[in-house]
């Protein structure tokens, strides 16, 4: 399900599956962008060759990621590790959807 790779420049990358019913819809995109914004690191999210800024709700929405799709999260900076862990947790908890 995931592979963890760390390089010298503290870049952390992780593949995640979107499991919540509504996919990356507005509320989920909003909580992901808000969470990412709490970290110093630069955060990017990739899907199907598209790369967007992980701190931008509009960017995340433009990925059009429904339930079951795979995204790749990449963080670079001093707190890259915590950032990716926090995002992974949010995705795994299905964005706390009821």
């Amino acid at each position: 399900m995931s592979e963890l790779e760390t390089s010298e420049s503290t870049r952390v990358v992780k593949n995640l599956m979107i499991k919540n019913e509504l996919g990356l819809h507005a509320r989920a995109a909003s909580s992901l962008a808000n969470l990412a914004s709490k970290f110093q690191s630069e955060i990017f999210i990739f899907k199907d060759g598209i790369e967007v800024n992980g701190k931008s709700i509009m960017g995340i929405l433009m990925l059009a990621a429904p339930k079951g799709s795979m995204i790749k999260v990449s963080a670079e900076g001093d707190d890259a590790d915590e950032a990716v862990k926090a995002i992974e947790d949010l995705v795994k908890r299905r964005f706390y959807e009821k």
Partner: protein, 588 residues
């Protein structure tokens, strides 16, 4: 637009009865347009500051609105949270600042360009839900523009004090937001008596005048408006004496209503003993209680579209079941007729891919849409069937035009029943299935259709509009909308005869049923049930009790030879004037 003006009267179409006196609240949905304009090199950073200031003000306003909501973490709260995230988005903010710095654009113009690109990006997306997020961005940008110009920003969510809403037009989503808020009435430039907005206003019991043409161009802040939903007029900035007259009128109406309500529990039987059930059209669960209090014999039309509007996802079966069950449990006194999804046309839905249609009213809507989106349809049917275990439920399909649609819809009902039995959910095995007769083809073959269903309900709004070929939202042909047109009377007569020939009941649930003026005609047409907005019930029952079935039938024979609706209404006035209270006679 001077401040000392008084008593400006605008007249439009009375859409929902009642009188409202309150401050005006302008709901502006239009985006300003800008001409190219630049700042000098020295002004760039000042322009950036100006822009950031407007963004800050917008953020503070949105947070304040969010915190003022009673329901924390409800749908509105979350939508506002999303808007706040978008407002802080670098794709909007940083991109605009970059435009100002790199090209010396004025803030408004820079934002305008960035906004257009973003919206374009979203509108190009395939997913209809994501497509619509472009509209969220527009709403946020609108707020920043207003703050850049130093103007106030409006949303129905922000209404704190009692107001009347003034708008060019209101979407169903706008009107849905008015529920439980301090909106006392509304006035719009667009719309007609039978447009969705007007129907919703009546269901919310909010006085409304529509089709005013240009009431918004007269708007000024802090002015009082009187909305007279009986006469279809709006008085802008009334003087003291007018306010006092209207306040007295309001009290008088209220007293009259109370007097009528006192007798509304009495049965609606004509003097010569014909029983006519008077039922309620409802749109929201809370109206079931009002209907009961006002003496309704049942729910003749429960519109279910509201469950689907104003949300980001599809309502699940359990959620729908709880809502329907709530209504059915509240209304044990009579039948509850639940109409399946009637989306499309002039209504909107945010999560189903509806292609742009040239003529949505005649497009993929109602039963056509449900038979195409079978899963959505079946989910609703399962929810309705489960609710049928708790009371007396009837299922009704809208906009049926041929035999095949009834056959197909019944197949889906059977499937839903099989699944529920398998899952161990109780439901009423004998649940009645009926159709709205609102398409001329269904009316013309109603003798064939009557053998396939348990009841008919005539939807006059659409039947009149399709039969007379007039678009109900086009003000320039509203004058042709005539429920007494001989063609309509003949059609109703044929539908009722077809129903009675097959031994089933004929109901009417369109606007015509709730218009007291037409009651003698409807009694004479031998309809079994009339379903109307709850407020009209007490007076309708009073008039029925004063009526005579035999006399009404004779009257129907007499008007057979009438060549026009005008002739029929003249005869109606001549024969039945003594039946009516004076406020209705005045309207003849």
């Amino acid at each position: 637009m001077h401040r000392d003006r008084k008593n400006i009267i605008a007249s439009g179409i009375p859409a929902s009865p009642g009188i409202a006196i309150a401050k005006g609240f302008f709901l502006d949905r239009s985006l300003p347009s800008f001409v190219k304009s630049y700042v000098s090199r020295e002004e760039v950073e000042i322009e950036v500051e100006k822009f950031l200031g407007a963004v800050d003000r917008s953020r503070i306003q949105l947070s304040e609105i969010q915190e003022s909501l009673i329901e924390k973490n409800g749908e509105h709260y979350q939508i506002l949270g999303v808007h706040i995230s978008m407002l802080e988005d670098s794709m909007l903010i940083d991109a605009t600042i970059k435009m100002i710095r790199d090209y010396f654009f004025r803030a408004e113009w820079a934002l305008d360009k960035v906004l257009k690109d973003l919206v374009e990006n979203f509108h190009r997306m395939e997913d209809p839900y994501l497509k619509q997020r472009g509209d969220d961005i527009k709403q946020i940008a609108h707020r920043i523009f207003e703050n850049l110009a130093g103007r106030r920003v409006d949303s129905i969510l922000e209404v704190g004090e009692d107001v009347v809403v003034i708008a060019h037009d209101l979407s169903p989503a706008d009107t849905a937001q008015m529920v439980g808020r301090s909106v006392k009435g509304f006035a719009t430039d667009m719309g007609s008596r039978t447009s969705h907005t007007a129907i919703v206003a009546r269901s919310l019991r909010i006085p409304a005048v529509v089709g005013l043409g240009n009431v918004t161009s007269y708007f000024a802040y802090d002015e009082v408006y009187i909305i007279d939903g009986y006469e279809g007029i709006v008085i802008i900035s009334p003087d003291e004496s007018l306010i006092s007259d209207y306040t007295k009128k309001l009290d008088r109406m209220e007293r009259k209503r109370k007097a009528l309500v006192k007798f509304s529990k009495l049965p609606s039987v004509t003097r010569d003993g014909r029983k006519l059930k008077v039922m309620a059209n409802i749109e929201m669960p809370h109206e079931a209680e009002q209907a009961l209090a006002l003496g309704a014999d049942g729910i003749g039309l429960y519109r279910t579209e509201f469950i689907y509007l104003n949300r980001r996802d599809m309502p699940l079966e359990d959620e729908q079941f709880m809502i329907y069950r709530g209504v059915v449990e509240k209304f044990q006194k009579g039948e509850v007729t639940i109409r399946t999804l009637d989306l499309g046309g002039d209504k909107f839905v945010s999560h189903v891919d509806l292609a742009e249609e040239m003529n949505p009213a005649m497009g993929l809507r109602a039963i056509r849409f449900c038979l195409k989106e079978k899963e959505i349809f079946k989910t609703q049917l399962r929810a309705i069937l489960r609710a049928s275990a708790y009371g007396n439920v009837r299922i009704m399909f809208p906009m049926v035009s041929c035999v095949w649609e009834i056959e197909e819809a019944k197949k889906v009902v059977s499937e839903a029943k099989r699944e529920l039995s398998r899952d161990g959910h109780p439901f009423d095995e004998e649940v009645k299935i009926g159709i709205m007769v609102e398409v001329p083809s269904a009316a013309i073959i109603s003798d064939i259709l009557a053998g396939m269903v348990d009841f008919f309900s005539i939807g006059t709004n659409d039947l009149i509009q399709y039969c007379l070929a007039i678009d109900r939202v086009n003000e320039s042909v509203t004058y042709l909308y005539d429920p007494l047109h001989p063609a309509i009377i003949r059609m109703i007569r044929f539908i009722v005869e077809a129903a009675h020939g097959a031994g089933i009941k004929a109901a009417m649930c369109g606007e015509m049923a709730g218009d007291h003026m037409f009651l003698p005609v409807l009694i004479g047409l031998e309809l079994d049930e009339l379903s109307m907005n709850p407020d009209s019930i007490p007076l309708a029952k009073t008039i029925i009790r004063k009526s005579d079935f035999g006399y009404a039938r004779e009257f129907l024979e007499e008007i057979k030879s009438c060549a026009s609706g005008r002739d029929i209404s003249d005869m109606l006035r001549g024969k039945f004037e003594d039946l009516y209270p004076e406020e209705i006679v005045e309207k003849f």
